[in-house]
């Protein structure tokens, strides 16, 4: 979040007030509206590596990120955005799946158990996860949105605009952990998104495509 010069001057600061001292060179930069060194968002991590879970009911970890100790300070927020898609090739199998968003031991878990239709195209999944520090004592909140399309396709691509209301999406959910929770101040924390099919079958395929994390 703070922005600095790459080069760090090791020279002791001089004493002439109107000179740019080595400490001035090494200092964090400011934003001009808020005069703050903490005003600049930063991208923490991003990956485009596809991870596929098919023909297995084992848990796959699609995104895992270690939040450095004190990174969220007293009021910072992380925003993780993840994209995936899946294909149900046959309804003759138990084609349900579970998703889990965890931060240390706090989490949201749920399952889709109503996948009745075979996908003519891959169904899209988008997850937005927000983790915010509510104070300087390590009290955090976790919440987010998860959207799953139906098997409807557009004239080109996936996702149909010609259906009213909610019928274009299979699921829209605003999720969160049960309550605010506490992490250990001074220790790192782990944010992760995990997925698993309820039953293994070769007609079931879920691919996590990418995610990125913004530090706000």
């Amino acid at each position: 979040m703070p922005v600095t010069h790459q080069f760090v001057s090791a020279v002791a600061a001089g004493s002439t007030a109107t000179d740019v001292l080595s400490t001035n060179w090494n200092a964090d930069h400011w934003s001009t509206w808020t005069n703050s060194t903490a005003a600049f968002p930063e991208t923490f991590a991003t990956t485009g590596a596809g991870i596929t879970s098919s023909n297995t009911s084992a848990v796959s970890t699609f995104a895992s990120f270690i939040i450095p100790a004190r990174a969220l300070s007293s009021n910072r927020m992380l925003h993780l955005t993840a994209f995936g898609d899946y294909l149900v090739g046959s309804t003759a199998v138990a084609n349900n799946w579970n998703v889990q968003v965890t931060l240390n031991s706090s989490r949201w878990i749920d399952s889709i158990s109503t996948l009745a239709a075979v996908g003519a195209a891959r169904q899209l999944v988008m997850v937005d996860v927000y983790v915010a520090a509510l104070n300087s004592s390590g009290t955090w909140m976790l919440c987010g949105t998860l959207n799953v399309t139906t098997t409807n396709v557009a004239p080109f691509g996936v996702g149909r605009i010609n259906l009213a209301g909610y019928s274009v999406n299979h699921s829209n959910v605003l999720f969160r952990s049960s309550a605010t929770f506490t992490v250990t101040t001074g220790a790192a924390s782990t944010l992760s998104i995990q997925f698993k099919w309820t039953g293994a079958n070769s007609s079931l395929s879920f691919t996590h495509r990418s995610y990125f994390i913004e530090y706000i």
Binding site: L21, I109, Y130, A132, T139, N172
Partner: protein, 216 residues
């Protein structure tokens, strides 16, 4: 938005072309892709301080920020994100509520009159608002997205992925000011988010958990 050094040199520039002059040191930084001083997003405000309204029909201001004059330039966007939670303990009361997003006198106001189901636990609300400068004449447009979860729970945590379509969400709507509007060039303007229960009752509680305002 512009990024500078914290220390400002007050002396006059020298005349040696190959040197870093005082004015160079004091200048806004550039982004390397766009060669722009305005390319860096800036977080204007974050707060994890909870604002609670219960047993009251008075208007609660969940967030208020005075935007400095010209902060949005000719084409900047503000993005506001709020996480909140509510609890309706009984249907024996008129448990309707009102949300309002205002920028000076322009606004969106929504009233929920169909709150029939008491919560078994707290319910989540997600509000995201964008305000964009459409030109250099201070013409603005406000729009956003408002989501409130149903009372359904996940396997662990809150938010029901199993419910198909609309069942997992109480509301999922796009909001906006009625038309574009104009603020006074050269003057500050106020952005705020407010809430009130229509009637006071001790079984009703809304808590604004976390807010962040970004200049993009």
């Amino acid at each position: 938005m512009p990024m500078t050094h914290q220390f400002v040199v007050s002396g006059a520039d020298g005349s040696t072309a190959g040197e870093v002059l005082h004015s160079n040191w004091n200048a806004d930084h550039y982004s390397t892709w766009t060669n722009s001083t305005a390319a860096f997003p800036e977080v204007l405000s974050r707060t994890g301080v909870a604002v609670v309204t219960s047993n009251s029909s008075a208007v609660s201001t969940f967030f208020s920020y005075v935007l400095p004059a010209r902060v949005m330039g000719t084409n900047r966007t503000l993005r506001y994100t709020l996480f909140a939670e509510d609890f309706t303990g009984t249907t024996a009361v008129v448990n309707n509520f009102r949300w309002q997003v205002t920028h000076n006198s322009s606004r969106w106001t929504g009233l929920s009159t169909g709150e029939l189901v008491p919560n078994t636990t707290t319910r989540g609300t997600f509000l995201q608002v964008w305000i964009t400068a459409l030109n250099s004449s201070a013409t603005r447009k406000l729009w956003g997205r408002f989501i409130q979860s149903s009372v359904s729970l996940g396997t662990f945590g809150m938010g029901d992925l199993t419910s198909v379509g609309a069942a997992a969400q109480r509301f999922d709507l796009q909001i906006g000011s009625s038309v574009t509007y104009t603020v006074t060039s050269g003057a500050a303007s106020t952005f705020s988010v407010q809430f009130n229960w229509v009637n006071a009752n001790s079984s009703l509680r809304m808590t604004a958990v976390y807010s962040v305002l970004e200049l993009i």
